[in-house]
Symmetry: C2
Subunit: 198 residues, 2 copies
Amino acid sequence: MAKNIITISRQFGSGGRTVGKLLAERLGVPFYDKELVKQVADETGFDVGYIEENGEFSPSKSIFSFAMSQGIPIMQNGLSMSDFIFCVQRQVILKLAEQPCVIVGRGADYVLRDREDCFNVFIHADVQSRAERIVKLYGESEKRPEQRLADKDKKRKIYYKHYTDREWGDAKNYDICLNSGKIGIDKCVELILDAIKD
Amino acid sequence: MAKNIITISRQFGSGGRTVGKLLAERLGVPFYDKELVKQVADETGFDVGYIEENGEFSPSKSIFSFAMSQGIPIMQNGLSMSDFIFCVQRQVILKLAEQPCVIVGRGADYVLRDREDCFNVFIHADVQSRAERIVKLYGESEKRPEQRLADKDKKRKIYYKHYTDREWGDAKNYDICLNSGKIGIDKCVELILDAIKD
């Protein structure tokens, strides 16, 4: 069966987003990352930065503080803010997946788990490659890059476990998992294209 | 850097052993699975069946009973039997890996973790594909195939955790993980060959 939808889950700094973008270009299909966030923000009326954090990471205290400071209510329609955003995000993903596309992150692999034409990818890499990549892309910060990686990955792991009851990064949840640090980003793209060919 | 050593870890019934055998044929290098077991048996003086169970699975009560019934001591050189076999197996793996080869199972990915020319593969598949495969290959048994799969995988998981302190099947421990049920065994072989090409 044709693989119409590619979902990309990735460790922070592994280049998974770039793999997704290149894949979408090669396949001539839309690429959803920030665009998906924007749609969820439009549908909920929330700030893009707020959705970006809450739509993929377990909520931290600072996010709750941010919500309070912005006058964003913590509960909506009887759901916690995070659950409410998860529900809207799920609807947006289901709608986007009506057409072939590449979707990065946001538990799309889980949301689309019953679609046989969906191909799930996980991209990871060693800490050193990822640390170099985030410093190059996002610059230095107060925190050591290794700490930034650990923090982001931990939040993604907790978010994924909470909403899917699965282990984030467990090979069984994906059709292909690739170590971009060893294989290289361009070759990752080629391997995925080969894997989905009929 | 050339990838001289390929290690294959696999879920029971996923066809990982076949992937390894085909890879070794294509690369023209030795394939170690039963052969490795035989070498460990030769070096320890134990029965091949005993090594086969203890060198990859967490020891079960029935294995201890078997050891007792065969007059095999439970302790050797101050180590438990399982630890002793792990040590000998480790030595055999290090020796085999002096030359290019494909090694299936037995924690070889962990034993060779410091070798940069080592490429680690994990093969898995959905329960239905694996159940069909084991019934075809090994026939029916008293236990339901789903139960046989769960039992074997559980023992491998515990064994791997005990000796490596890592999670078996966690994508981060491997360079490529493939769902053979979705991708097909022949294409898995092609993808791995492409991935290790310089």
